[in-house]
Subunit: 236 residues, 2 copies
C-alpha cells in the first residue's frame, strides 16, 4: 500500500496571513500526521493562535504522545494562554504504521468525509473547537488502512464559500464526482475543491481555506518517500 | 516568484528505519524551512538521533529563533544528551519571506550545490556535524531569492552510492544535465539523483539517502499553497 497526502491552502482575500496552519510531521513509531488548525477570526491574530495550537500538537506527537492526548493538551494550553477567550479548530489526521490505521481526531464542527471506494461517509459527530473550555475532548475515529480509502478534511472556509452570493459548495457531491475518475490523485481532489470554492467567492475568498486529502492506494514500484511543496511568494 | 521544494528519501537496504529525518515547517515570519539530519550509524539508533536533532531545530524555528542559533542549540542539546559520543549531520534550508533570502545552514561535511541558472557553485566550506564538541558552529550562506536559483542538499548516502562497486555519482555533472532541460521540476531532479544512486548500489542502497531540492521559479497563476506527500508502506 502507499499513502498519498495533499494539502491545498489559500488565504482570505486581502489579508496579510492565513489564519490556518497546516503541518505534516513524521511519527516516531512510523507513519505521518497532518495537523490542521483554524484560529478564531482572520489575519495575523488568527495565525498566531493556529500556530500555537499546531506547534503544541506536533511537538507532543514527535515525542510519541497519542493524538487524543495531544489534542487535549493543545486545548488546555490555548485555554490557559488566552483565558478561554479564544478558540481554534483542530484536526489531526494520522497514518499510524504501528497499528496500520488512519486516526482522525476532530475538534472542529466541520465534518470529515471518509470514502471507501466511492461510498462516502460523513464523520460529523458533535465536536467543538479547542481553547474555550476546560476538559474539551476531541472526537476520534480509527479506521483500518485499506486500499481506496480516502479522507477529506477541511477548515470552514470551504463550507462558507459562496456566502456572499448565497451559493454553496456541495462537498459530498463534488467528492463523489472526483472519485468516479480512474485513480484520482489527492492533489487533484484538494485543488478542485479549493478552485470550486474560489469560484463561488468570485476569486476573492471570504475566509481562509485549507483542504487535506489522504488516500490509500496500491503501491507502485519504488520505496522512495517523496514530499513536494509549492509556495507562491507575495510580490516584493 | 514561486518556491518549489522536493524531498526524496530512501533507507539503507534491509534496515527497519531510515537514520535520516527530514521535516518541512512554516516559519512564523513567513516562508518555510526544510530541516534534514543524518544520525550516526544506521537503523533505529540513528533515527532517534536525527529525530532528536530535527525536533529541537523545528521547535526553535517555530518560535522565531534564527537558523544559526537553532543549529547551535541542537548541537549543544545532542552533546549534552549523549555526552559528545554521538554525531549527526544537520542542514537547514530556509526560504525567508521577511528577508527575501534563501538561508542555507550546514553542519555537514557534504557540500551543498547552488545553481544560478545553469552555473553551479559548491558550498563546501569546512563544516562538522553537530553533537561531538562544545561550541560547534554551523556554516551559513544567505542568498537573495531570484528566479532560476536552485539548491541541492543531500546526506552522505548520495556521495557514497556505488562504493560497493567502486563507481561514484558525479552530482555536479548530473545536476548540470538536469538544469539544461526546460524548467526542470525539483521533484524530477531529486528523483533522478536518488534513482541514479540506487542503480550504482545495484538496487540495494548501502546507506540512507535523502535529497532536498529547492527551486525559485516564475510565479504561475494562483495563490494556492500546495504540499503533497507519498509514503510507501511496508508490507503487512
Amino acid at each position: 500500500m502507499e499513502i498519498q497526502i495533499a494539502v491545498s491552502k489559500i488565504k482570505k482575500y486581502a489579508t496579510s496571513d492565513s489564519g490556518d496552519t497546516v503541518e505534516v510531521i513524521e511519527r516516531p513509531q512510523g507513519g505521518l500526521s497532518v495537523v490542521m488548525a483554524d484560529g478564531q477570526s482572520s489575519g495575523r491574530g488568527a495565525k498566531s493562535i493556529s500556530n500555537l495550537v499546531v506547534r503544541k500538537v506536533i511537538s507532543l506527537l514527535a515525542e510519541g504522545v497519542r493524538d487524543g492526548a495531544a489534542a487535549r493538551a493543545a486545548s488546555d494550553s490555548l485555554f490557559t494562554e488566552r483565558s478561554g477567550k479564544v478558540s481554534s479548530t483542530l484536526n489531526i489526521i494520522s497514518v499510524d504504521n504501528a497499528t496500520k490505521t488512519l486516526v482522525i481526531t476532530r475538534n472542529n464542527p466541520a465534518p470529515v468525509l471518509l470514502a471507501y471506494g466511492e461510498n462516502i461517509k460523513l464523520l460529523d459527530e458533535k465536536s467543538i473547537p479547542v481553547g474555550l473550555y476546560r476538559e474539551t475532548r476531541p472526537v476520534i475515529s480509527e479506521i483500518s488502512l485499506e486500499k481506496n480509502l480516502t479522507a477529506v478534511v477541511f477548515t470552514d472556509g470551504l463550507i462558507h464559500a459562496g456566502s456572499r452570493t448565497g451559493e454553496k459548495i456541495d462537498i459530498v457531491a463534488c467528492l463523489k464526482c472526483f472519485l468516479e475518475e480512474e485513480d484520482p490523485s489527492p492533489q487533484m481532489i484538494a485543488d478542485n475543491l479549493i478552485d470550486h470554492a474560489i469560484k463561488l467567492d468570485l476569486g476573492r475568498p471570504v475566509d481562509d481555506i485549507s483542504v487535506v486529502v489522504v488516500r490509500v492506494t496500491k503501491h507502485r514500484g519504488d520505496q522512495i518517500r517523496r514530499m513536494s511543496v509549492r509556495l507562491p511568494l507575495p510580490p516584493i
